[in-house]
Amino acid sequence: MAFQAAVATWFAVHILARIPVGGRFNVNNQALPVTIRLETGTGLDDIEVTQSDGGALHVQNKTSATLATGEQAPLTKTGAQLAEWIADAKAAGGAPDPTSNAAVLAVRSDAARTLDDLEAGCRAFDLGGDWAVTKGGRNGAQRRALDALETIVTKAWTAVRKVAPTADDLTDMARTFHVARFSMDEGDTDWREASTLLGRHLYGSDAAGEAPLRDLRGIMRELIGNGAPANRDGLLRALRRRGHIDVGAPRYDEDIGRLRSVTAAELDRLAVHGELPLAGGITITRESDAPMVTAIKGGSLLVVGEPGAGKTGTLVHAAKSLIAEGALVIFLSVDRFPGVAIAADLNSELRLGHDLVEILSAMPGSQPRYLIIDALDAARGGLSEGVFTTLIERTMTELAEDWTVVASIRTFDLRNGRRYRAAFAGTPANDAHADATLGTIRHFSVSRLTDGEVAAAGTASAELTELLASASEALAELLRNVFNLSLAAELLADGADPAGFAGIATQSGLIDTYEDRRMPTTGMTQAAAEAVTAMVASRRLAVRKVDVRHVDVDQIIQAGVLAATGDLVSFSHHVLFDHVAGRFYLAWHDPDRLIAQLDGDTSTALQLAPALRFAIERIWSIDAPGRPQSWKLVCDIFSATKVDPVLGNVALRTLSNNVTEVGDLAGLIDRVAATPNDSSLASLVNRLSRFVSMEIEATRSVTPECAIAWTTLSEKLMRTDRLPLIDPARVLMHALFEHGDFTDAVLLGIFGRAARAMLGFAWSHSPPLQAISVSAIRFVGKSFASDIAASRALLERVLRDPHFSQHADREAPWLTEQIMPIAAAEPTFAAEVYRSIYGQMITDTATSALGGALSRIMPLSSNRRQDYEHSRWHLGKSLGDFLAISPEHGTRAVIDAVIGKGKIEGYSEPDEPVVIDLGSEKIEFRGRDLEFNAWDEEDEDASGREDDLLANFVKFLRGSNVNEFSKSVAAASRDYATASVWTRILGVASERVGEIGDLIWPVMVKPDLLENIDTLRDAVRFVAAAWPSRTSEERKYFETMAVDDTRHLDEERKKRWHRILARLLALIPEEELVLTATRDLRRKMEKDGGLEENRPNINFSSSWDNHENWEMEQLRRDGVNMESGPNRMVFDASNALNVKYKATPAESEPVALAALWSDAMAMTALVDDNPALHDQVDRSAWGYIAHAVERVASSPNYVPGADGLPDLDALFAVLGRLSSSQYPETRETEG
């Protein structure tokens, strides 16, 4: 094994040093060894080395082989494997190519010399030849050696193939077979060679290889028996883990040096992006610098931002920071490689001898590595885009373990770059520096300069300070863009007067000023335009200077507008290209010519898109009111067949961003009115609506003027009655529905008109237009107040048959979603909605797709009834807010809803209405809402439902002021109500008796609420609670009524009344009663044990009376001695523990919990001491222990180790026992 590891180490060194090994075995010496595998389990299986030419070396190690041919002889074993390998390979279609494959017998340097004869004999066959003839021509020693080999392989071959090998087979075997001596003991020849190679190529000097070589041998030992192949990367990583950090990459050192110098040159060239050209260079320090470095360390990402935001500057800063920390950074700028069309071009431009990804992979060392690619957008859809995208994709997949990729791109180009989005799919790297529209991309957004950053830059220059101090709001905002600030700084450095900036309000204006100053002659602007023409023609942002056909090109280079690098020129910033193209190249003054210039494919479009934005802004700024020329141009672009849609979208987006008030839309509105059937207009408006919607959604706001402008457009679109124009209106209105301020009466009015027109339109179709009608219902609901009568007339249709039965499952949920604006405008209609929605039901359970259309992600279906029930959910959860707006109508809504719900759900037949006399008036109790528990008892299974009507009613009653409570009571005292509503009024009144007592007391002059089975408990509670604050007159009046037995029609009713009185008198002390008769009655009841607890009438929790006795009897019947003995003792202790458990609620003080714990532990000890208990006794005991332990563990007052309570270890130990209890046994629970 030691020899095997040593030989393997020799091969591994050659893999690491990238040095061929073929020469030693007479095979291809151009190929490099690639992987090594030990104990492969096939063929000559000690070591297998694969080669870069597809061949392989199969090595078997025998320290001391001879030519002996006995069965156990080493050569016999190796020869047999050789024969099997070649025989199998030939049977499968051909022998391995002997120029790239070898079977090697590796022996120690001191092995038998006769093996040299065998090697020499085999080599005689390297050029082919007949077995017998060639063998016959060898000397005696070699013949003997070949005879020995022939004997061995013939026997093995015959055993496998059942026939002897032919002469050709023997020749093939001899050609493939090699004997090689290895001297790999430390200090021996091969060891020294390996050590020198390793040191020289990977570790900096010939002498540095010794230590890593020893560790490499250890690594090889570990590989034995593992069977897994190791390649260069794996070997390097293993060595790095052992502390051997490589410093060289054989064969790649030159390329690596090139990349390092390109990086250094780029960082130097781009340093200017982090500075302002004033006062000798002002460094711009960004607050985002540190977060960005942290984000980059977290993994590959895209750096995004608007043009000129300062992406390059921050990337350069990040790169320098990472390098300073010892990281390896390769920095490439896409705009340096304008002519790159395929990957080979990039390698050639960088003058690399290898593929770039391969070089990255070969980079030595173990430090963090970053590939930073700046300005992906410079590719502008050209061929180089594909090259860099592929570079990014390959690095991120092939080198994911070692390399982090960071690339910068403008947000606009990212939106159009599907492959970038796919490569960097993920979540934003830092939430504080994220673009809301890029939620699915791992990115870092470089935003505009903050106040602090601008101020810090300003402090270094007096001119800049003056400019910033005097800047208008618009200019100040412009100067937050690093590019703009740099332009301003350049102008100031040129001697421009800060006061001269006063009139600048747009980026275009600022760049105009810059261009006018730097290019003062017509010739210079013509030269700039020519430069753009050449760039557009070649679809690159850098062209040969000679291709700019104007003599003044040198002047604009001199002026700094163009930058020259060698023979190439490019604009000094991409934004400058865009602006010059928009101003001096695109014919913004001649729309027909402009459209002709835009002809072209997507890559042309991407190159010109930012320039078109500047051109359109120029047109907009000089356009007449209503912007007719601007809208005409965009319409023409949309109807032009040869213009790429990207440009139409840019043009339209530019216009939509510039709209600030309704007047800006006049040109478009006129066109809508004049040519509503124009299909390209429909397509434009459709796209426009989505842009506006996205913009509003992204910022979640819209100015009042803009809201009115877009709503006005929507209304005009509605008036056309043309479906293709109505959907855009819906999209616009939806954005305004979400984010518009409807307290603005003008907006509300226009929106309401448009909404009602839309609903009328949707319903006028047969069948109705579903998507539009549901949106329109929401819109009409939201703008209900704009015209109450008209809105109500429309929405009532949702609630009435036949429309209801056909459409309520789809429509009612949206109507009810808007219940609050409806309630605020017209509470009577809101109450009507509650009555109708709870009083009707869609009983159809036909399947419907959830959300209207079947989802591709989760195609869940629902049914019409379930869909309809969403509307009840909306109403239920909104009830509290409705009650706050109108206690009166809200209360009527609860009453009608409860009645309707009871009737529809039908858990009991509606009872005959019960007439209840409230003193001042009589009402009916309708319906019968069977409640399983008293309303104020917690029901664990149903608690917390936010749409629970009655629970929300209680919340209102508890939180309302006296006036609101009074209005609610007044509403419940009219015509009809439900017992459930009155139980809550009475119950909450008893809780708030100090405030509400006087309000409610008058209804108690009549006994009806006390006599009613549903309300009696809460009526008793109220009377008892209010009693102390009653005047003696009121008490006397009540007591007189109470003891007046003459009012009972029969004995049964009298008895029933006395049971009710028994509940009440149990709560009122004798001394608080004013009539002797009442006192006597109470005294008698008390003496007879007749006073009753005021329990809920229906309570589903029940207890076994005398359960213990019953259980004991059962045990006796089972033959258990229950008079004394362990069973009785444990039985009694169990029951005592159970009693204690019941008396110790979860909220008990720690002391009480500790006592329960102590009893439970004593009980545990008792059970442990009595192992032969009856099953039932044992089970009860453990059951009660479990109860007690659970009570302690679950108590909010349990503090580990405090006040005699167990610490967590003790608790865990007991719980661990309980968790492994045999109870419940399998049949005990029912599933």
Binding site: S862, Y1184, A1193, L1218, P1224, E1228, T1229
Partner: protein, 149 residues
Amino acid sequence: MSISWGNLSVRVYAAEAWVSLASRFAEERPEIVDRINEILQDEEPAVRLQAARNLQVICKAAPDQMWSIGECIAASETDEEVLTAYLAHALRRFSHAEPERCERILILAKERLSEFSDKGGSGGRLQKCLGGWAAQLHAKQGLLIFTEN
């Protein structure tokens, strides 16, 4: 049929105790999370039910494990009520914060609908539960999950 258990079902009450302790102490004592996991392996549905319907208690201590345990429940829990309790109680709490992860689990459960087709007269408990989920997401979260491409 619903799962029910006797007053003396020791492991059920022990499970309740572990669940209560988890919400307070699981961060400092991660073995509680292991216990919760063991509870979910109990042969008795009533025992598993305690952990399944309250799985959110390990949310702070072991969020990743909570989700992976949740996926196991959705993919392999044999008792419909236990599965439904998990979806309707524990998982529901994450409907706003983690809709995508919830959806993944719901899809796992949904693929098993046929295994529980009204078994034991439950009236399609799982189906109703998934419907309810859908309704909640549909009504409260503006269809995002179900209609987005």
